[in-house]
Subunit: 369 residues, 4 copies
Amino acid sequence: MSDNSFGRLLRVTTFGESHGPAIGCVIDGCPPGLALAPEDFRADLDRRATGKTRHTSQRHEADEVEILSGVFEGRTTGTPIGLLVRNTDARSKDYAGIAAQFRPGHADYTYLQKYGHRDPRGGGRSSARETTMRVAAGVVAKKWLAERHGVQVRACVSQVAHLVPRGFDWTAVEANPFFWPDASMVAELEAFMDALRKSGDSAGARVHVQALGVPPGWGEPVYGKLDAEIAAAMMSINAVKGVEIGAGFASVTQKGSEHRDLMSPAGFASNHAGGVLGGISSGQDIEVSVAFKPTSSLRLPGATVDTSGQPVEVITTGRHDPCVGLRAPPICEAMLALVLMDQALRHRAQCGDVDPVFPRIPGKHEQDV
Amino acid sequence: MSDNSFGRLLRVTTFGESHGPAIGCVIDGCPPGLALAPEDFRADLDRRATGKTRHTSQRHEADEVEILSGVFEGRTTGTPIGLLVRNTDARSKDYAGIAAQFRPGHADYTYLQKYGHRDPRGGGRSSARETTMRVAAGVVAKKWLAERHGVQVRACVSQVAHLVPRGFDWTAVEANPFFWPDASMVAELEAFMDALRKSGDSAGARVHVQALGVPPGWGEPVYGKLDAEIAAAMMSINAVKGVEIGAGFASVTQKGSEHRDLMSPAGFASNHAGGVLGGISSGQDIEVSVAFKPTSSLRLPGATVDTSGQPVEVITTGRHDPCVGLRAPPICEAMLALVLMDQALRHRAQCGDVDPVFPRIPGKHEQDV
Amino acid sequence: MSDNSFGRLLRVTTFGESHGPAIGCVIDGCPPGLALAPEDFRADLDRRATGKTRHTSQRHEADEVEILSGVFEGRTTGTPIGLLVRNTDARSKDYAGIAAQFRPGHADYTYLQKYGHRDPRGGGRSSARETTMRVAAGVVAKKWLAERHGVQVRACVSQVAHLVPRGFDWTAVEANPFFWPDASMVAELEAFMDALRKSGDSAGARVHVQALGVPPGWGEPVYGKLDAEIAAAMMSINAVKGVEIGAGFASVTQKGSEHRDLMSPAGFASNHAGGVLGGISSGQDIEVSVAFKPTSSLRLPGATVDTSGQPVEVITTGRHDPCVGLRAPPICEAMLALVLMDQALRHRAQCGDVDPVFPRIPGKHEQDV
Amino acid sequence: MSDNSFGRLLRVTTFGESHGPAIGCVIDGCPPGLALAPEDFRADLDRRATGKTRHTSQRHEADEVEILSGVFEGRTTGTPIGLLVRNTDARSKDYAGIAAQFRPGHADYTYLQKYGHRDPRGGGRSSARETTMRVAAGVVAKKWLAERHGVQVRACVSQVAHLVPRGFDWTAVEANPFFWPDASMVAELEAFMDALRKSGDSAGARVHVQALGVPPGWGEPVYGKLDAEIAAAMMSINAVKGVEIGAGFASVTQKGSEHRDLMSPAGFASNHAGGVLGGISSGQDIEVSVAFKPTSSLRLPGATVDTSGQPVEVITTGRHDPCVGLRAPPICEAMLALVLMDQALRHRAQCGDVDPVFPRIPGKHEQDV
């Protein structure tokens, strides 16, 4: 078995290596009738792309999406949507020196242990290049969620190393290269990133992801819980080491009387649950926080072994991000959108004719404060 | 769609409500030849059970497991293993008063929004009673992992509210009712729990889960990553709000040079990755940390609405745990064991004849320190 | 992997051996709100049961269905429906003599080759006893199809050995023990079966299954085609060796101008397609024909080998059906109903908001002739 | 949900329309280390291709396979294998006249009823063009089965309309354009096909498919039976209306004493079961027979309706095969190979360490006669 597909009813299968001829995906299960054109992918692929500022890897990929199937006269037909992106700026020679070495903190060692044979160029299949197709698939899910259900998915970077936003304004997020919600700190971040890059080291980050407008009822107890699938979706992204829903680890030190979100006809009084109760959406905003480790691709030398078991010192000379979390918000949004669309379809399958007779309780939004 | 099955090749399907006649599960895909008897389930079900001390719910269930199929002359046959546990101590009248009310922090509201019709007795399907069958299924997985691969899975409580262990000794864990790794703090915990119970409030907890002896190579990139499936498995447990692998959220403030686990022929120098690189086990210990929220079932009154949308005050009078995390270690172990056994079978399917020619690098264990 | 589950969105998992303590199933994904009671299972289980006439096996099972979960106050809740049937008339001693022999035409040899360890009592898991739970699950699917979509599923025996109906009347089918559509031939069939039973030999049969009222649009191209899933469903029944949709093998000698079903606003002119075009229901009746081999459990001695590889002669002394096809109609109906309900839910998931604007073309029914 | 993937552990996902820019597939789960090059696809794609003789459609496609991923230095890596074939000879204008008409016997009506929006060019997704990718994926499965298990898969046409082979010789099959096993009848077939083509009508056919060398033990009872999955695989091919395993429908008129395949240490005495007992391979040859309907694309006018519900007469003017069954053998082989490889991997997952201690019984081959 291998597992390059994501989702149950909206099923995305990706393929492709970092330095192979192309990457691509097949999106199976998208309802018919959704307007879709190649230019729809532009914005989010640019948000994820490297080489846009000096703070990311300097690989410059065109990321042109070709729609191979599933769309006729500008609308989806219900058949599988094939998407293809040619790799245009791979520099495999950067990796020639390390093909026989296991880079610490990378998947080199585990891929070779598992498969016995691997493509070492640029990390091959384990490269974050694969997330390009997640973002592309996420574009389709976001469009459908917005048009069919009025759901909006968004994300920001909520921590870089020790830096946390002092203020919080969603409108600031897309106006700086760090997806940072506090405009007053952008210069500080730039200085931090410049110093980091010069040091040859890397930094971790935290990303906050949110879905607004999710109706109550999405999520499949007990092993297809909405939060369980969100956790898997986020943890499947390269470099992720932790996932929280709502209060997350802070709930360990909360009292039950503090954590439980009281309700009244006017709405929920708080949202410590992060929009999920018993694995099912409550109608409140879905709130997710994700930890990204610092990349292990460093110019600083590190001890490792080679494929013959001898000790060596490795220096990673490819083009890399000093803080991979800085490009992660569109990826996290895409994964959340894919989970939500999949769950929406699953809910429609089983409960499509349930007629809710009791009132819906409004959610508590941050902006209500 | 509904989703009461877990796993791909080792597939566990559970059924049953908290106050229905019985709960049960079907384990499909277990290899033939594994020794299995009803008494194998005793130890772990007792570790999970309520009513053993004053610090847990006072529901007393016999938890007698009947093996209905899949075992002949004491060994599994490869056919589905049906397990049944009759509910013997349900007190549904405790819930009569709240059938028409949505308990805050519970799944009452979301189940009714989703399905339009629900079993309110004791939380019905959303009750933690369901985890009994996870533990039962986990017993099978633990046995197979130990006998076939020498893998050991274990867990402890690593935080209750603000209390953290001052020392750490795995041998202490099973010798106190709190799965606590510091024997010197047991009296302190008892006092804390007594006060908590009297207050009518509840507390959160953190559970640490570990697998020793996992060989390198288990895990299916990219959407069936070992850590992604662990995250889903843990988040699917009632009351869980966060999951970390290895350094987890601490990796946000680590430098890359600090986080990456250097390697030498003598072994890995650290285990910040938590035993997973690129979604595949590295041969180091698998390290997972899980956040449990404080239960929302409190004797303290709370504001909510009823099914006709009117504001009401609710008091939960059923038998509940003041700290659900205290019974969670066997559940977390079971879920980790189920993920690992499933991944082991998947790995064998695709890579069963891969012949690793390079050396295996020893893991860094805590006990090495 | 093992594969004891059927269906994608309506997922039925069965367990249990012929002579184990019980057989059972879990039905996952049934929409909430469907009325369901233990007595709903009576009629179809009796239609499938042995021991009702001298023409079937003389095993007398009570076949009492216990609903363990998923139903509250007489209606399904959307959570998994657990069903249990205790085995009450197993006579394992009948098999003591043949535990170490491979009965020709049976699964004895293949189960042992696959699993290395098996339950030989009454065929264990490979026994047709398992089809009891298919029929039980089919009852739920039939109810939902009838109530939600007005779909009716029915079956008859359309051939026994060389005997074929000379006339055809659906109302005759349930009025004789052979599900035979020609009342005038019942005496002839009884004589044939009596002679067959006395001879110690067995006979094959053909079953015709039909679904009326299926709307156009059900079926998932290209690998989840309605006819492909029907073929798998039928072929998964014990003793089935062939499946036809519509004209079936007769289409080999048809001309295209004869086979294609012409259309007019008044309706389809014929139904050689059997209600499926391109894997999707056309709105015509679904027509399926299934071949059942003669059972291999005979009183006539036959050459085989034992588990040590020595030649032996085997005589099957258990209670067996001289023509297993005679009890197959309710099983075939159940499988067709399960496929249709599953496809209905899948169709609703992807195309639940498609608004057909062109006219629906009426189907051609046999009774129109 | 949509369903454009095939297999459980070897998972093939196809995409693409007949007249879109390209067709392609992703093969996920192939073990690492298998030698694979673009030229491996040539032979089977040519065997399936149109335009090679006057007896098939005159569409001339290059069918050049580009390997996009999953292969490094000539061997599979265990990551998904992406294959792409550009469409080079689509003539969509042929279909301009019938875009608003439902061709009888085609999927036009059902696709539009299901999806509300469709690509009508050349049949779009419902075209047999999709089978190109099945054949490509089948090449991988055939290679693996041959190299790893010595299994050979082959097929021939065993009937065209009323014509059946008078002799049978496998070596003749690949030496004529009809995959016909009787060289003495080739002239007769050519004359038949010429007359058929001139008449504007079409003919049905029967294809026989066979796997030699399959070891005992492959197949997953009870819903993943080897024969059940073969039935689904064959019925998922365009134009198939019936599937038989072994004796198939002939078993209806067989006696049990005739049908059951007796065994001795020297081997099975016959193979009426077609190599499958209880859903598991017996070690005998797998024998499958498949009915192909006559294509409904005719130059002869036929009555139908248009998308506004009005009666019209339709003539299909595109390039079509007068007997689609004549190109089906490589497709049937591919589907059988994909089922077998998938089952081989599943068997290895669950029973990889079963050690058969009893003797294997040789199969009965036709050539033994």
